[in-house]
Symmetry: C2
Subunit: 229 residues, 2 copies
């Protein structure tokens, strides 16, 4: 039977959170990837690219794997009862609940990460806590049937790990070779641990407003879930 | 003045060839990224995802940077006179001609790589030769105003290198931190040099037909260009 993977897409999604894992997981044998949105209209991502959904919350069949990507639009999703109800409904029968980047905050907002170890984009990791999850600063975190990946490009590492869980290491290795994932970043600046202090400071300054807004949403949702202090 | 980057999209494009660089380059200051296709209808990529173009060959303004991604559909593009004419027209005024993965074969087919050092997906690198280019087995190759990246995920390394060329290293480093590009592949299987022999053999067997088709197209186009032996 065909494995069904469903990835949520929504306004102001960071497209690489989804397109990275898509490239890996759509190469699994006997697998179909659905892109799920509120409607079938093209979805506009945070930098403008428009992507077309294949099913709606209402028409999406039961999924084997649910994946929620992140991006600034994740905040609205955290209080979108229609999206949260969709995730809760799918969670009943899905084999794996997964996310990339701030998508884990959406899983958390749906009440699906209570007591679970999970990761997130480095700049938003702390907001998992009021949602009842245990934040872990790692690239890919597996806790039972919950698999989460860190920020944006981490979705490729996440997806190769998930591919190995689903189909075994040999298949994952072959996909890695297909997509020539032998990364050679020109700089060592991909983590707050390795970035220059001035790079981190400049970026943190730009992220202040977004981070404060995320903190407020996470606290509000956490109070509603009964998980926030 | 706003920098204009144009990325070609076409049927059976490998979407990550484009979406990886898009995520990096759309974050450059004062920059707009256009997605160029024959029409404004959604384009269906090789694994099914549909992406919406923003301009057509006819309506696209002069670009500062042209980027051609790859994927199995690149072969049709290599003999698509409308696409090749578009690239030649843009090449007259563009500051940089760039590609990711087998997109370099399309630049080559347009006659834009004669005598230029360039890279490509590892499995298709040899086909640059009949198009008059000098194949180089590296992640990112810069030869004057031609910047090429190797296969699929290499587009992220390519785009960070290009970002540094265009805006300086500090900006590129900040984007790298934004997208948490601190790769941690779960396996060492992203290059024919590091993959297990059985992984490489299994994949090469699957690629035989595609590779032979590519060889034929490259030879035919090369004869037309006068660059093939």
């Amino acid at each position: 039977m065909t494995r069904l993977i469903g990835m949520l897409i929504f306004p102001r999604l960071t497209q690489l959170d989804m397109t990275g894992p898509y490239e890996v997981l759509a190469r699994l044998p006997d697998t179909k990837v659905e892109l799920i949105a509120r409607t079938l209209d093209p979805v506009t991502t945070d930098r403008g690219m428009q992507i077309v959904s294949t099913v709606t919350y209402a028409s999406c069949p039961p999924l084997d794997i649910v994946m929620v990507p992140g991006g600034p639009g994740q905040q609205d999703l955290m209080e979108d009862e229609e999206a949260l109800a969709f995730l809760r409904r799918q969670a009943v029968s899905a084999k794996y609940l997964t996310s990339v980047c701030t998508g884990s905050l959406v899983l958390g907002a749906a009440g699906l990460l209570k007591g679970k170890r999970a990761t997130c984009h480095w700049a938003a990791l702390e907001h998992l806590k009021p949602l009842g999850a245990i934040p872990v600063s790692e690239k890919v975190v597996v806790d039972g049937n919950v698999v989460t990946g860190a920020g944006v490009t981490s979705g490729i590492d996440f997806a190769l790990s998930l591919a190995a869980i689903l189909e075994g290491e040999a298949v994952a290795r072959e996909i890695q070779l297909q997509i020539e994932y032998d990364p050679a970043p020109p700089f060592d600046s991909g983590s707050p641990k390795t970035a220059k202090p001035e790079t981190l400071a400049a970026l943190n300054a730009k992220l202040t407003a977004l981070n404060e807004a995320r903190r407020e949403v996470a606290a509000r949702v956490g109070r509603k879930l009964g998980t926030a202090l």
